[in-house]
Amino acid sequence: MAIPEELEELAAEYALGSLPPDEHLEAEALMQKDPLFSLQVKAWERRLIPLVLALEPVEPPARIRGAVMKAITGDSFDSATVIKLERRASNWRWATIGASAIAASLAAFIFLHTPANPVNGQRYVAVLQAEGPGPAFLASIDLVNGNISVRTMGAPPQPGKSYELWAVGGGRDKPQSLGVIDASLKIPASKLGQLDASKMRDTVFAVSLEPEGGSPTSQPTGPVMFTGKLVPTE
């Protein structure tokens, strides 16, 4: 796939939508790591877009808007939504964990993204969830690019407080802070260097509510609000 013409062709077919599933996944992975390929795909999307923009608009049923808006505010997440998340990519799987040292009463739904590209498949997704209202945070952990990004999926803002993300277990004798989830919902990439991929299997991710700016000690001081765990499929 190193030949430029082949990449161009792959980009064209990806934008067209005709790729078989394996090549579709390959193209998606390339989009992430190859800026040139990503540009080629965008150029193709631009070439073909008049066809889509020319479509006669069709008004969707009004209830869809309500469902979408509720889903992003998180106040109507239910198990069906979680199942949909799981179904969204058949190569994700979910599991619940029962008692954990930190949150015996919290149910957690865990997703592992099976690597689209086995060579560098080091991307993980954890949905951090409390028992009640549904997913609160979605944490994407990318060991290759060294990024942890956290997206709020309904965790209510807490004035004067900060959410802090922790890695617990997996050989750690105490919780390891991964940082305060700030307004941009990013965790400093440097934190990730301290995460050992081999320990991911047994690592629980937890979010605690801390004083503004994070825990004054190096340990959680506030209530653990949400937990989630990454479970390898292999």
């Binding site: 062709e9 064209a12 077919e13 934008a15 067209l16 939508g17 005709s18 790729l19 078989p20 599933p21 540009l39 965008k42 193709w44 999307e45 631009r46 070439r47 073909l48 877009i49 008049p50 066809l51 889509v52 923009l53 020319a54 479509l55 006669e56 608009p57 069709v58 008004e59 969707p60 049923p61 869809i64 808007r65 469902a67 979408v68 808006m69 889903a71 992003i72 505010t73 949909k84 179904r87 969204r88 990519a89 058949s90 979605l138 990004s149 997206r151 709020t152 307004a183 941009s184 919902l185």
Partner: protein
């Protein structure tokens, strides 16, 4: 929905960074501006109303989640949104493995796209159609079936009674010609 016809690219460009920052009101505006267009997109791929509705909902969840990765200026916002909707529709379709059915009717629908009265769009579309018209009729149909209806090589192979490797070659040649024509005329 005149707003969608006017292709409010600039407005969308202003909304997306707000959405990336978690602004739900901005997201609601984006929904109002684009949902009828994106619903048209997913309905092309998914004939079953319940699947189309589910795909639209999931597409908007993806837009919400991926808004942080939108790069202003690198692609027209409607193209970015439509690509998410199309890919979602194709994913949904594959998941439910809809069978090939009434392909003739679908083909007619794909070929008979109604052009909206927007000067610039009409021009772009006219050029694209002109370039498509240099392809043999069956290749035009293949490209349109793949693009509008999300038909994979395998489905096209079944429809046209050709090996999927041949379909791959035909599609890629067609796209190369299309690119040459479009880029040469810009």
């Amino acid at each position: 929905m005149n707003t969608a016809i006017d292709l409010p690219d600039r407005e969308l460009d202003d909304l997306l960074p707000l959405i990336a920052a978690g602004d739900r009101i901005a997201f609601g505006k984006l929904y109002d501006l684009t949902s009828n267009k994106l619903f048209a997109v997913v309905r092309c791929v998914l004939k079953k109303p319940e699947l189309a509705e589910e795909a639209l909902q999931e597409a908007f969840m993806k837009i919400w989640q991926r808004s942080v990765s939108y790069e202003r200026g690198s692609v027209r916002p409607m193209a970015w949104l439509a690509a998410i909707a199309r890919n979602q529709a194709i994913d949904t379709k594959r998941r439910f493995a809809e069978r090939l059915s009434s392909s003739t009717v679908e083909l007619d629908q794909a070929a008979a796209v109604s052009v909206l009265p927007q000067a610039e769009l009409a021009m772009e579309l006219t050029r694209l159609r002109k370039c498509l018209s240099i392809l043999p009729a069956d290749r035009q149909d293949m490209v349109l079936l793949a693009y509008y209806q999300g038909w994979s090589r395998e489905e096209l192979a079944a429809q046209y009674n050709k090996p999927s490797t041949t379909i791959k070659t035909l599609l890629r040649r067609s796209l190369a010609l299309l690119k040459e024509c479009l880029d040469g005329n810009s």
